[in-house]
């Protein structure tokens, strides 16, 4: 079947000016475009230290030795190849009541993946709901974007959200620390702050992209409602009026603030994006302002 692309060519051309940024320094292989405070083999001078046995003689600062008669070793910045992992929520709540959030998350994931590929990052696309689904690792330039976009386009809503299981599986599957971008509505009945804290405690940098539909924050209905939760099928009957709507919105905003606090506490970032904001505007607006992209 002939599907429409997740992101169009014009948008991709605009994305080529962007770069994924993270705030933490991670040890790793040389590569990528993010500076590291870790010393190691590299090109850019970082500091001196005393020479120890076994150190590479090529790094000795011979000029300092001639003047001070002490061996100092020049150390350099390591330019690590830090993996960037995109966790895309594919739970059924993302598709409730329509597929707005789900489609938006897939398109946003594709855009971030393209930005990373252009800057020669190694991108891991990891869908999740109550567990981690099959992932796709890609890197090596923009010409690898095709399989990634196809992978995202083939995703379907499945399962209910469990951040605890997801975090557990993630930490065991990806021991190397890196930038973790989570695109989700963060709606987990058992809570998602604790699992996210676990992940942050393991040294991963969190970039939480909170996607919601307008009716998730401001329900338009009024009167007697029979609510059905999309994932569990749990029902609830209530009268809903303007006052209740305000209380609902307050609870939603409090939850979003909780996520923001969690991210900030762990040197991460939180970006909330309603689906009513066009994707291009979201990428060059909130995401750039939050220093997730530059």
């Amino acid at each position: 079947m002939n599907r429409s692309p997740l992101v169009d060519r014009k948008f991709l051309e605009r994305l080529e000016t962007l770069t994924l940024r993270w705030q933490k320094s991670f040890p790793g292989l040389v590569g990528g475009h993010n500076p590291s405070r870790f010393a190691g083999p590299g090109l850019e001078f970082f500091d001196h230290r005393h020479f120890h046995e076994g150190d590479d003689l090529r790094a000795v600062n011979w000029r300092a030795y001639l003047r001070l008669e002490k061996l100092f070793l020049k150390i350099f910045h390591v330019e690590p190849r830090i993996p960037v992992r995109l966790l895309v929520d594919v739970s059924r709540s993302m598709a409730a009541p329509d597929r707005q959030k789900f489609d938006y998350a897939r398109r946003l994931g594709a855009a971030l993946c393209y930005v990373g590929l252009v800057r020669l990052e190694t991108m891991v696309l990891q869908p999740f709901s109550d567990r981690l689904w099959d992932s796709l690792t890609c890197g090596g330039g923009r010409h690898r974007f095709g399989p990634a976009a196809e992978f995202l386009a083939d995703l379907e809503p499945e399962g209910s959200t469990s951040f605890l299981n997801t975090a557990r599986e993630f930490l065991s599957r990806y021991p190397q620390r890196g930038l973790l971008v989570i695109i989700s509505d963060f709606l987990d009945d058992s809570g998602c702050t604790r699992p996210l804290q676990y992940i942050a405690d393991f040294g991963h940098e969190l970039l939480l992209v909170h996607v919601w539909a307008e009716q998730d924050r401001t329900p338009p209905w009024e009167g007697e409602l029979e609510l059905v939760e999309s994932e569990s099928g749990t029902r609830m009957v209530l009268d809903f009026d303007a006052g209740a709507r305000q209380a609902y919105t307050r609870a939603f905003d409090a939850y979003a603030e909780e996520l923001r606090t969690l991210a900030a506490r762990n040197q991460g970032r939180y970006i909330g994006i309603p689906t009513s904001v066009p994707l291009e505007e979201a990428v060059f607006g909130p995401l750039t302002r939050a220093w997730g992209l530059s």
Partner: protein, 635 residues
Amino acid sequence: MFFLNLSVGEFLALFGAVSGLLVALYLLDRSRQRVTVATLRFWQPAAVPTERPRRRRHIRQPLSLLLQLASMALLLLAVAQLRIGAPTHGPRDHVLLLDTSAWMAARTPAGRFLDQAQQSALAWLRSLPAADRVTVVEAASVATPVTPFETDRKVLEQAIRASEPGWTALDLAHSLAFARRLLALYSRNPGEIVFAGAARISGEPPAPSALPSNLRLLPVRSTVSNCGLRRIAVRRRTGAAPVWEVLVSVRNDGPRGARTSLGVSFAGRPIGSRRLSLAPGEESEAVFELRTRAGGWLEARLLPGDGFSLDDRALVELPGSSPVHVMVCSDRPAWLRPVLAANPNVEAEFVEARRCTPASNAGLVILDGVAPAAPLTTASIWINPDARTSPLPVRQSVPAADLRWRRDQPLTEGLRAQDFTAATTSVFQAGPGDRVIAEAAAGPVVVAQPGPPPRVLLGFDPAANRLRFELATPLLFANLFRWLAPRSFDQLALSVGSPGLLALRLDASAAPDALRVNAEDGTALPFTLHEGELRVFVGSPAQIRIEAGGRTLLSSLTLPETGERLWQPPEGLRRGVPPPRPENYGRDLWKILAVLAGAGLLLEWIWFGRSRAHRRPAAAPVPAARLRDLLRKVS
């Protein structure tokens, strides 16, 4: 209290349907909505503990429903035009037949008859209750409605005042039947058929039993003396081309005997006059003779004038007549003179054979054994041409031959003579397209060539043998003249009459394909042909031209048709303007009801509607299950 527009049953049925629809929409709007959401965690703090009893789950905001139902009921009452009062009868629909026949143009010192009829009609109109509807119909030879059933008195009065007399007579029976049909088809509550006019009718008056029971007469004092021209007929006298016979018919339409003077003039010069004494209803004819070939206006006038001046004078244009110029080249003209003198439309010129030079104005040239000096450009008859100069090759010359007419040719029409023997005859070599009129055993001896120019060749000398004394000879020449110079046989007649149905009895020989009926500007008029009678209807003054074969009738339909008699209505009919009738149709409440209904709907919207504006998203679909539940509730 009663409804003006609807019956009680209709109102209840309509209200029931609207109420059902309203309740269904209400339940659809207020019923519980089933919504699928991503999570319930934010709904918990928003949940309002409900204390409503279970039975109110179906009917919430009952005041809103009551307000809507009451507003709808008020709106329907306004539509039904609820009135307070006890009506004796409802508003009625009337038909006003205003006589606009030609006779209504007659004038008395008090004014025209039509003016009287208009005043009576206006007075009658003012006597009606305001809610009664009236349609104005102009009645003449046909009935023409001017307004629909209308309550607006200004429109009706304007229509009455704008009516003018026509040119045709009144067909009362037709107008009454038309009024009946109007009431039967378009009236809700039939009222009266009112006839205002002089009622001078043509044809038979309607039978008293056929008169509508609801007929009211607004009679007009139509006593006026009138002698009028009824018909003028002009035709050429047979055998004398420049003489026209003018027949003028005059009728006395007044109630008393009258003496009048009829004068006829042509091109301003009087050609005759008559003094006529006519009894009431008597019609008299006078014949005048006019000798002229020139064209001009023929006028007939009655003196002194009377109350109806339109039929005191009539004009008809006589066309000029010019005979066909026939040039005869012959050295023995004596035998041809009687043949040519018989037709008054032929002017013959005899020329010696040796001087035969056809004139340019010749319509026909007869060459008796001679050939012209120059080729001919006009129609010609060649009698016994020389073999060397004959326009058709002469195959041989036979000394004596038995000749035989060809009956299949139109040119032999009427030739009943037996076959005959000619002395010396030339036999022609007929070409393709040539028509053989007579032939001998050796070949054609009389040949017609269609041309142009057309010509006929006779291979023998009609004057040299027995054929000279046969009837076939002038008939043959008449046929040849009719074919070669058709104008010489044109029959022209003129008439002056009245617009309306014109019937003309045609000759049996008149071919239907050759019939032409044209107006003055040349446009074709529709006509019917039934059992040899041609009928044309002309509703207004006009000049028409009817051509049927060689016969032409110019008819000037400019005399008014005054009708033949005054209608004497039977006793017992309602007459005159009735006294003004008080309107007792109750007080009209629809405006108040409509305002109340609007206020109710506005209140409902202010109290309940504004909060519903954001109640459901526009794109939210109504699940089929919900619809089924709703229908179950409603049923």
